[in-house]
Amino acid sequence: MATLEVAGLEKSFGGVRAVQGISFSVRPGEMLALIGPNGAGKSTCFNMLNGQLRPDAGSVRLLGREITGMAPRTIWRLGVGRTFQITATFGSMTVLENVQMALLSHHRRLGGLWRPVARMDAAPARALLERLGMAEQAARPCGILAYGDLKRVELAIALANQPKLLLMDEPTAGMAPQERVSLMALTAQIARESGIAVLFTEHDMDVVFGHADRILVLDRGRLIAEGAPAAVRADPKVREVYLGSGAVTGAH
């Protein structure tokens, strides 16, 4: 069964149809890229999947269960992790504490008024950081971390509740080329090991063509192409609205 099934998704803002009847699905362990020009509806689409926006029509199913229109925190509890285009972490907490928060929330222990956080869920949090190569940074505040490291912290947070689906909005934006490759390789490895379905948007064509198993191309709210990287790269329509000649971006 597909992890995520999206059917006939629609959303309009003040008469402008941002997303028009989009359908697709993601399988366990699959890396699916969602690409398209700015304003094509990628973010709108994403925000409907994790509950930040309510679709006008259509359905979103997670492991066969209808999750359309649920609150983001409910969707998270059902097993959808999320990373953001501009990293969102708790700047006044250390890397470890950030991951502890996700674990504590997963275990529904956030109401505690007495026992200090320092002694709660520290070991599993450390293990997660270890897996992402961030153990050495555990005690540093997120507020002063380098951008590439923050992206890894976000991934650790997103993995804390053992998600079935990861939604990653431009996971490598603002990272150096080498960091991009290693982060995506790590993501792909974890996804395959744990059978997590990954849906990501991205502007870096090296990342898209290097790491996606399948690609969806959006333009003006519609799905204009879908398929394996080679096929999408060769599609003349995709070249016209999005990829261009590839001379300055590496999409050749």
């Binding site: 509890r77 700047g91 006044s92 907490m93 502890q100 928060m101 505690g112 200090p116």
Partner: protein, 615 residues
């Protein structure tokens, strides 16, 4: 019927005056993001200066109108000086710090005005040419009021033209969004800000000067108008001129008709309307969601860790003094110490909301007061013993905290602060106007401790134990998951929601918890003083709490404790030694804001870190 028409017209005249003041406030806020408490002081100075000028200049049209315009321009210049000397240096400070600085200016102006013009009310001459009245629907209506009705729309029109049809206006609107970028495009943003301050202050001065023929000039004009102006600006939507005009109209008419329809709750009415508007429209009538203005925000909040050993020892030493010393002191000193202990808890309760919670509360006194009244009413009407009263105090405050907080914590920034203020004013008005139950202005007397706790020293130890226990409990909470969840939703609401944290619920419960803690302080205060009064819930007491927290520093857990001790001690001493305590306190606040922008504990922490490196 005729009466209603006249009432509506006089409502319009009030609305017009109110708009002048509010428009200046909203223009200044729009560009500088400074919530200028001193705007009311500028209004008052406008009235005083107009009085001096008009009575000095030769009589007649030139003397009067020249005096009014002259006063407005002078106030504009005073605003300009305040901007250049003070505000310009703190644009990068947190919002509430700026507010604190402008409150310092309020205190300074109050004493200066009293020194120059004396404490008595002054009556100015009436406007030449507008002394008479005309007949409207068979009744007399003063010409001057009619003139005022015209002033508002004219000023609104001119301002709209200025902001949308001139280059200066375009630059100001751009700077409202991104000051730094405007500077990088070659615009001298400092001059721009100063000119905006001049304009806003001039409008406040004009508003004050035009009151001269309507009412007496007195020393209470500043705080009276600033509360109303805040209401207008917030109801209209921060930064929106048209919104301010609409809101001024609404509030002006509400005053005019409220007194006819529901004279018993006139005081509550305005704040009820404000609360209602904010609950339905969280950004006011025409306001937009506050985009974080760029180039003005500080860095991320620091990590919270266990107290460094030096601080622990200092805390223990202070505690030891607080326990050992009092038996050797007189009754007066012991009751001052009792008040200090209560102040610490009061400040700590506000700190939970402001620091970890990341919300500003302008109405923390409400929960202090509700705690005090809860205990007092239980004593008076149910004959409850002291311990029952003290148990009831946090319960009552907590329940009302949850009730009011349910609405407040949905909003953010200045709007949230203003809604907490509105609820506090509603609570104050009820205590003030529901005379049969609360005794109104006379308060409730005879709220004495049980016999065993009657000696000052015993009561002190009781207060110390309860306040210290509650403060330490709050501190523990901050280190526990709940406190972390509070900080999580403050740091990143987006991320908090994305890991299943219900930000609303966390904020709401946090608000309730803080209210309950303030209630403990209020209950202890009631029994300590033996009486309760509406002033326990007044704006000044809420401002006191803010001062304590900001003075100590929001970013550290010890901040509110240090701030409470410093502020209460300072005020106590100043009032005893000088009549000009407001002037001195105001100057101290301004200097502290300029030189210790992180608060006392924050500054100490920064020095400690500079010497020992990061934790």
């Amino acid at each position: 019927m005729e009466n209603l028409v006249l009432q509506a017209l006089s409502g319009l005249a009030s609305a017009s005056s109110l708009f002048l003041v509010a428009s200046g406030l909203t223009v200044i806020f729009g560009v500088s993001r400074v919530v200028n408490f001193a705007h009311g002081s500028l209004y008052m100075l406008g009235a005083y200066l107009a009085y001096s000028l008009v009575t000095t200049l030769p009589r007649g049209h030139l003397g009067f109108w020249g005096g009014v315009i002259g006063a407005a321009v002078l106030v504009g210049l005073i605003g300009l000086v305040v901007e250049v000397l003070l505000l310009r240096r703190i644009y990068r400070a947190p919002e509430l710090f700026q507010l604190l600085a402008t409150f310092g200016v309020v205190l300074i102006v109050q004493d200066l005005a009293q020194m120059i013009w004396g404490p008595q009310d002054l009556l100015g001459p009436r406007a030449p040419g507008l002394r008479g009245s005309i007949e409207i629907v068979g009744m007399r209506f003063p010409l001057y009021e009619l003139f005022l009705i015209g002033v508002g729309p004219v000023v609104l029109g001119l301002l709209v033209l200025l902001f949308h049809r001139t280059r200066w206006g375009t630059l100001v609107r751009a700077a409202t969004q991104d000051r730094e970028m405007v500077g990088a495009l070659g615009v001298n943003q400092r001059m721009l800000f100063t000119s905006v301050f001049f304009l806003g202050s001039l409008l406040a001065g004009l508003g004050g000067a035009l009151q001269l023929p309507r009412e007496s000039v007195n020393l209470h004009m500043d705080l009276a108008i600033i509360t109303e102006a805040f209401v207008v600006v917030v109801v209209g939507g921060l930064g929106s001129l048209t919104g301010a005009a609409l809101a001024a109209l609404l509030i002006g008419e509400l005053h005019a008709f409220g007194i006819l329809i529901v004279p018993k709750i006139t005081l509550v009415l305005v704040f009820l309307v404000m609360a209602l508007v904010l609950v339905v429209r969280p950004h006011g009538l025409l306001g937009k969601p506050e985009a974080a203005a760029r180039g003005g925000q500080g860095s991320a909040e620091p990590v919270i860790g266990p107290a460094p050993p030096a601080l622990r020892w200092l805390g223990l030493a202070t505690l030891a003094v607080a326990v050992v010393l009092p038996p050797f002191l007189g009754d007066y000193a012991v009751s001052v110490l009792t008040e200090l202990a209560i102040a610490v808890l009061f400040a700590a309760s506000l700190h939970l909301i402001m620091g970890p919670g990341g919300m500003a509360s302008f109405g923390n006194a409400a929960y202090f007061g509700i705690g005090a009244y809860g205990a007092a009413l239980a004593a008076q009407w149910l004959g409850a013993p002291m311990l029952a009263g003290l148990a009831l105090a946090p319960l009552a405050a907590g329940v009302f905290g949850l009730l009011f907080g349910y609405f407040c914590v949905r909003l953010s920034g200045v709007y949230a602060a203003m809604l907490t203020l509105a609820f506090a004013q509603i609570a104050w008005s009820v205590a003030f106007q529901w005379v049969e139950v609360t005794g109104g202005d006379n308060g409730i007397l005879g709220v004495w401790p049980s016999a065993w706790a009657a000696p000052k020293l015993v009561y002190y130890y009781l207060a110390l134990a309860l306040c210290l226990g509650a403060t330490l409990f709050l501190r523990r909470v901050v280190h526990a998951p709940f406190g972390y969840a509070l900080r999580a939703q403050r740091d990143s609401a987006l991320r908090a929601e994305a890991i299943g944290i219900d930000a609303f619920r966390i904020r709401w419960l946090g608000f309730g918890l803080a209210a309950a803690a303030a209630g403990v302080a209020g209950g202890l205060f009631a029994y300590g003083k033996g009486s309760v009064f509406p002033t326990y819930m007044g704006i000044p007491r809420s401002v006191d709490a803010l001062l304590m927290v900001l003075l100590g520093g929001v970013q550290t857990l010890s901040g509110p404790i240090v701030g409470a001790l410093a502020f209460t001690g300072l005020q106590e001493q100043l009032v005893r030694i000088t009549d000009l305590w407001r002037l001195i306190l105001g100057c101290i606040i301004v200097l502290l804001v300029l030189f210790f922008p992180q608060g006392l504990a924050g500054a100490a922490r920064a020095r400690w870190e500079a010497r020992h490196g990061d934790a």
